[in-house]
């Protein structure tokens, strides 16, 4: 395979199965962002799209994007993950820090208000799994730990500044002593 074919396959793998996790020393194609895991054990590959080829172009064209189940709760749980994991919002959003899942649920509870506890937990778990399936968060269900996923690195500078404002407006998680 030539280099061109290699690049083609990397884009196709991303399209088929989401951000690709590879060994740190692996060759990687031009035009892809390389995200190093905090312990340098692996690298995520994420294609870099030019501004006018990104999903927000759909809004300008009046076209529908991919449908998300329970979009409001899913967005709230992503916001809660961001509030708990992005401990230094003045800095980059990747890799951020791991946070206990219960802390994320507590922030979710604080922004959703009065809700039956069982329904709240079901909504939070459904949303966390959905976000993990799409690569927005990394969710270790056994250890009950959440991290931001590699896809957050695709947010543009403008999107990040909006998210920083959102971050400030959200209730702070209770950190363990």
């Amino acid at each position: 395979m030539t280099t061109d074919d290699d690049t083609t396959l990397w884009w196709a793998r991303y399209r088929a199965a989401g951000p690709q996790r590879v060994a740190p020393a692996s060759a990687y194609p031009a035009g892809m962002t390389r995200l190093v895991e905090p312990d340098a054990s692996a690298v995520w590959l994420l294609p870099a799209l030019p501004d006018n080829a990104r999903p927000d172009v759909l809004d300008e064209l009046g076209l529908a994007g991919v449908a998300v189940d329970q979009p409001n709760d899913t967005a709230r749980v992503l916001a809660a993950c961001l509030r708990c994991c992005w401990t230094e919002p003045s800095g980059p959003v990747w890799p951020a820090a791991p946070a206990p899942y219960d802390q994320v649920v507590a922030v979710f509870r604080a922004v959703t208000g009065n809700r039956d506890e069982r329904a709240l937990h079901a909504a939070a778990m459904g949303a966390a799994r959905r976000l993990a399936g799409a690569g927005w968060v990394l969710f270790d269900e056994d250890a009950r730990v959440v991290r931001l996923g590699p896809r957050v690195a695709s947010w543009s500078a403008a999107e990040l500044s909006t998210l920083r404002e959102l971050w400030r407006s959200m209730p702070a998680p209770e950190r363990e002593a």
Binding site: D4, T7, T8, L9, W11, A12, R13, R15, A16, A17, G18, A30, G31, A48, P50, N52, A53, R54, P55, V57, L58, E60, L61, L63, A64, G65, V66, A67, V68, D69, R130, G133, A134
Partner: protein, 232 residues
């Protein structure tokens, strides 16, 4: 140099913008896009540049009906990804998808209720139908449907027009099925025939045609990986 720079370097600014907009519309959009809406779909010259860009990413233009377009995987890239096992769907998810396709497309087509070779359909598959006769563990069907829904491979059928409101939820094939190329649609049909009626004359005919096809995939010629496809 990124793929975008390489492919679009020779275009003027306006055409480059048109190609990028169409790329975003086809790759990120949920449904196929009307040709009339975008110059890069309407104009055959600009469309060729869009196809060149998609091609470099392992994708290709797919025509839907006579007026709409979407994008899908190139057939040679599909073969490569399948050989690597790079698929997002688990075995259970794929099994549930096939059941929906059998009930919503294969059976109505065999009865002459739908024509063409599309894998989309207006014939709902009730969830009850999936759970009652399947050999899959029942508890796995609901989460599988959720994941397939997130991938656009199935969608909930609108309640209107169904036999009775007490039927419970029903599913249709999702908009992502539009992304199958013509050879991919045919492969899916052949695989279903081989699985459902392996002893039928039709299955024998498909098997008889296979060795030649397999050899063609193993030694791709320059023409089989061209940047054009039959649609463009």
């Amino acid at each position: 140099m990124t793929i975008f720079d390489t492919v679009l370097a020779d275009l003027n600014e306006r055409h480059r913008d048109e190609v990028m907009a169409a790329f975003a519309a086809l790759e990120h959009g949920r449904e196929p896009v009307a040709e009339a809406q975008l110059l890069a779909l309407r104009d055959a010259t600009v469309r060729r540049d869009l196809q060149r860009l998609l091609f470099r990413m392992g994708r290709t233009l797919v025509r839907v009906g006579s007026t709409h377009w979407t994008s899908g995987f190139r057939d040679d890239v599909t073969a490569q990804l399948a050989a690597e096992g790079a698929t997002a769907q688990s075995r259970v998810d794929r099994a549930v998808l096939v059941l929906v396709l059998i009930h919503s497309v294969a059976i109505p087509r065999s009865q002459g209720l739908i024509g063409g070779d599309s894998w989309t359909s207006g014939h709902p598959t009730p969830v009850d139908e999936l759970t009652r006769y399947t050999q899959l563990p029942r508890g796995e069907i609901r989460p599988a449907l959720q994941r397939l829904r997130a991938a656009g491979l199935v969608q909930i059928a609108p309640a209107r027009g169904r036999a009775a409101p007490t039927d419970g939820p029903a599913y249709l094939p999702g908009p992502a099925l539009h992304r199958l190329t013509k050879p991919a649609r045919e492969r899916l049909e052949h695989e279903l025939i081989l699985a459902a009626a392996p002893d039928s004359p039709l299955a024998a005919a498909i098997r008889a045609r296979r060795p030649a096809a397999a050899a063609a995939v193993a030694t791709p010629t320059r023409t089989s990986t061209t940047e054009r496809n039959e649609d463009t």
